[in-house]
């Protein structure tokens, strides 16, 4: 019985800006359902409850590289990497392989076994095993372009909830209801039956579910079940070695490290318990699985775990991805050892029409169009302004079909709206001050589903990114839009474009793809103008300055570059910044910059925003040195005027607003700040377990 916070559009005075403070974007992330880490590529694949898939690059500051939108009814239960290929299996009974270059499913195969609960690949990468509701473990051969059904193992009575291959590829351990079955993978026969105890007391009448299972190379089987136990079994003899009761609720996930010396178990309480294979004596004999650490980083059930070489990655019903580095693998008190939490997407879901004062919010299943409120008064810095007219929701547009919305855009004049899913593209014309909407039906056939959309500043053209890092340019016209051309990057670019930025004078278009390649096109000639030298970290936001035509690019490792498009070289300020280096506190920030914009009143300003702050970089002021205080706005205010000039530097950071989803500057020089407080999200999460605490 929780109420969603009502729309609030407070206007406050902040320094020289009037700020629209917006909290009515009801963004609600989806629970994490499954994850899989690929050691080879250092990528983590994550599946959410709405069917969306996300790829994180663990070697690039945990940047959320790719997002594949969800699909109604996909209900992913398990993920599996086979080399560079990603497979998922879900309750819809299908195995899906994904095309990570075009951010869509490549194909689906129906397993014909009912809902699929688990998927696992053998260490050779040749066979894929899925556990189904009807009690069969189905084997699929992994071929070059597809998978092919090979055979069923012995059918069991009861669903197969979890499975694990033995590293040799000869045995499979399957967790079911009340028992574990060991299969011979070659003959398909079930050889052993390990009976799992039910819980005590009230749980005695309920079947115990073996949620997760792991088969180690020394033939030890580790299982976790709904009675709160982690059990160690001898897989050769089929006997129980030890039981660890770690929680009163379910143990939903298990993950074993590559070297099999450590394993982690995730519970419904939100704790992650680590076990390590240690010996009690100094010599290396009589090693045993010993419970070592307990991490409590989640408020709700932990449903997915991944054990990398240096960290434990967990995710669950509280929708946050947590990376906990293990302190015996990384150096203490460094940036590497800090815990990382990813709560919001690393891309913008808000589009601001600067001329019209209209905001577009992107949800997975619909779009919302809001007009900002108005205020006449003037006030003191930090004070609230009287609101003359409140914000109003103009349009709510539901998507058509079962695919979720991939990207959307609003033209700066507020007259055009476009969105794309993996299968369709739609363009709408907004009239009467963005109140009435009508679909543009005649679209050029070259305009296919896009990964990223962008309107030109004069609202005359639409840019849609397509496969192989190319961009389709379309002239906006009623009733029919004309195809103008396709901007192609050099041959060999296969990764999708995730950033598009058009210059204000309509001459340049910059694109960035997940291979860290930044291309700039000349729109008058519709040809490639230049390619920015590749920097090792992925760009997270970029923009082209309206007057100087300098391209500002910010990367996942928090580096900032400024590139002159006219001279085709880095600017002098950028080189100075690189030489001095960014402040250490700036580099230690753990959320990427998602928005770059400029101040029409002051050409030396660059405004950047991440989840916890926005910063006005003043190029005319000196750069902060390592010994300076970075977050000095508060202290500067308390100093007398002449001293302020001495101590101020070019990075003016404001942390008054959190969690920021968008910061934008309107044409009337007022700042739009879209916040989504984490408490509003937590209050709408499903029920957590009831913990009885002393004195409550």
């Amino acid at each position: 019985n929780l109420n969603v916070p009502k729309a609030r559009n407070r206007k406050i005075q902040m320094g020289e800006f009037k700020v629209h403070r917006i909290r009515f974007f009801d963004y609600m992330p989806s629970a994490i359902r499954a994850m899989a880490f690929s050691t080879r590529t250092e990528r983590l694949a994550l599946a959410r409850a709405d069917g969306a898939l996300e790829i994180f690059n663990f070697s690039d500051n945990y940047f959320q590289e790719k997002v594949l939108p969800g699909h109604d009814g996909r209900a992913v239960e398990a993920l599996c990497w086979v080399g560079p290929r990603l497979f998922s299996a879900g309750l819809n009974g299908e195995i899906t392989e994904y095309d990570l270059e075009n951010l869509r499913p490549r194909y689906t195969v129906d397993a014909y076994g009912g809902p699929i609960w688990t998927i696992g690949v053998n260490s050779q990468g040749t066979l894929l095993a899925v556990g189904c509701e009807d009690g069969t473990v189905k084997m699929f051969e992994v071929l070059k372009e597809r998978i092919q059904f090979q055979r069923n193992l012995d059918r069991q009575r009861g669903r197969i909830i979890s499975l694990s291959w033995h590293p040799s590829g000869t045995l499979i351990a399957a967790g079911m209801m009340d028992m574990i079955r060991i299969f011979d993978a070659e003959t398909g026969r079930a050889t052993h039956r390990l009976v799992v105890d039910r819980g005590a007391g009230a749980s005695k009448s309920k079947e115990v579910v073996v949620w997760s299972i792991a088969f180690l190379s020394d033939y030890t089987i580790i299982s976790s079940d709904s009675a709160g136990k982690v059990q160690i079994w001898d897989g050769l003899n089929g006997t129980l070695i030890r039981t660890h009761l770690i929680t009163k609720w379910d143990v939903l996930a298990l993950s074993v490290s590559q070297d099999e010396s450590s394993l982690v178990a995730g519970t419904s309480e939100g704790t992650v318990v680590q076990f390590q294979f240690l010996s009690s004596t100094v010599d290396r004999l009589d090693k045993d699985w010993v419970r070592t650490r307990t991490f409590k980083n989640h408020s709700h059930d932990v449903r997915a775990l991944a054990h990398t070489e240096t960290a434990v990655v967990s995710g669950g019903m509280d929708t946050q991805l947590v990376v906990r580095p293990l302190l015996d693998k990384v150096e203490k008190n460094t940036r590497e050892s800090a815990i990382r939490k990813v709560s919001f997407p690393h891309r913008s879901l808000v589009c601001c029409a600067k001329k019209a004062g209209v905001l577009l919010f992107q949800f997975p299943d619909h779009l919302e169009l809001w007009r900002l409120g108005e205020s006449d008064g003037y006030g003191k810095p930090g004070g609230s302004l009287p609101v003359k007219r409140g914000p109003e929701k103009l349009i709510q547009l539901k998507r058509k079909g079962e695919d979720h919305i991939c990207c959307s855009a609003l033209s700066p004049c507020g007259g055009w709206l476009a969105y794309s899913t993996v299968t369709s593209f739609r363009l709408y014309r907004l009239l009467n001050g963005s109140i009435s909407i009508c679909k543009v039906s005649k679209l050029p056939k070259d305009l296919r589903p896009a990964h990223q959309l962008c309107f030109s500043t004069d609202s005359s053209k639409l840019f849609a990114s397509s496969s192989n890092s190319s961009v389709v340019v379309v002239a906006l016209n009623e009733p029919e839009c004309k195809y103008l051309g396709t901007l192609k990057a050099k041959y060999g670019c296969r990764q999708p474009v995730h950033l598009l930025s058009a210059s204000e004078n309509g001459k340049w278009l910059a694109t960035a793809n997940t291979d860290c390649e930044v291309h700039v096109y000349n729109l008058d000639k519709l040809k490639l103008h230049c390619t920015v030298p590749v920097y090792g970290s992925c760009p997270t936001a970029m923009a082209i300055h309206p007057t100087t035509s300098n391209l500002v690019v910010v990367h996942a490792d928090q580096q900032i570059f400024e590139y002159s498009l006219v001279k085709k070289e880095y600017t002098e300020w950028s080189r100075r910044l690189q030489k001095q280096g960014l402040h250490s506190l700036w580099l230690e920030r753990d959320t990427p910059i998602t928005h770059v914009t400029f101040n029409p009143k002051n050409p030396a300003h660059i405004i950047v925003q991440d989840l916890f702050m926005f910063c006005i970089i003043d190029k005319s002021l000196p750069l902060p040195e390592a010994k300076n205080v970075l977050y000095n706005q508060m202290t500067l205010r308390s100093l007398p005027e002449p001293d302020r000039v001495l101590h101020s530097h070019g990075f003016k950071i404001c942390k008054d607003f959190q969690h920021l989803l968008c910061v934008s500057l309107l044409e009337d020089h007022s700042l739009v700040v879209v916040e989504r407080p984490l408490l509003d999200i937590v209050s709408q999460l499903p029920a957590p377990v009831r913990q009885k605490k002393f004195a409550t």
Partner: protein, 247 residues
């Protein structure tokens, strides 16, 4: 409890009687599978009668010698009698059943409609099944066709309540998906899962945290608005009630 099944007596004669009876019963059982209680009763009674006569004469005398042929004939006779009675009873039951069935059928006939209406219903039923089969690949026009069909037949007033609805296309996969999701939901949030609300969890955090504060519904303005409105209303009515006696 069937009569004649149990005779309780503590004398020696009973055991003799019993043993003889069991012998008879066993033989009878072998012959027919299950002994009908009444036949057993008659058999026993006879036996009892016979033995008691003998015993009444003297307790000291030894048992009389009965020839094999005699006893064989005796046994055969009694068996025949038992079989006859069993057969008679079966026939009686059959008759009863037949009579009852006829009675029911007559009652049914009285209840049912006349034969003509039955014919009409039969024919429309066949039409319906044809249309339904075609409707499996439902298209809006066909659905309307069915509705039109019904409108034509609506003139007939059939007994009973019924509603006409179109069947929603739900495939096997989606129903299995729903069932699997329900299983997951019941295991995690169903009975016995010992869960609480987000409100309680956050309020506990407020209470135990470094900067202690009140429960969340009092800290956040727009939490539990309905409850707060209800509380306000109650407060107002209570105050009003207090004021009435005093005025």
């Amino acid at each position: 409890m069937q009569g004649g099944g149990r005779v309780r007596s503590r004398s020696l004669s009973v055991t003799m009687r019993r043993s003889a009876m069991t012998l008879q019963n066993n033989m009878a059982k072998n012959q027919r599978g299950e002994a009908a209680p009444s036949s057993r009763m008659t058999g026993r009674e006879r036996q009892m009668g016979g033995f008691s006569l003998l015993l009444e004469s003297s307790d000291d005398e030894g048992p009389e010698e009965v020839t094999f042929e005699d006893s064989k004939a005796d046994a055969r006779r009694s068996m025949k009698r038992a079989l006859d009675t069993a057969r008679r009873e079966k026939e009686l039951l059959k008759e009863k059943r037949r009579k009852r069935q006829e009675l029911f059928q007559e009652q049914k006939k009285r209840k049912l409609l006349s034969a003509e209406v039955l014919e009409e219903i039969d024919s429309t039923k066949q039409e319906q099944s044809h249309v339904k089969a075609a409707e499996e690949e439902a298209e809006p026009e066909e659905v309307e066709g069915r509705k039109r069909n019904w409108k034509q037949n609506a003139a007939r007033n059939l007994k009973g309540n019924y509603t006409v609805t179109t069947v929603k296309q739900s495939t096997l996969a989606s129903s299995q998906l729903k069932a699997a999701e329900d299983f997951l939901h019941s295991r995690m949030y169903g009975p016995g899962s010992r869960r609480t609300t987000s409100n309680e969890m956050l309020s506990l955090e407020n209470k135990m945290g470094k900067n202690k504060s009140a429960a969340v519904q009092f800290v956040k303005k727009n939490w539990a608005c309905q409850k707060k409105a209800k509380a306000e209303k109650l407060k107002k009515t209570w105050i009003h009630m207090q004021q009435i006696p005093s005025s």
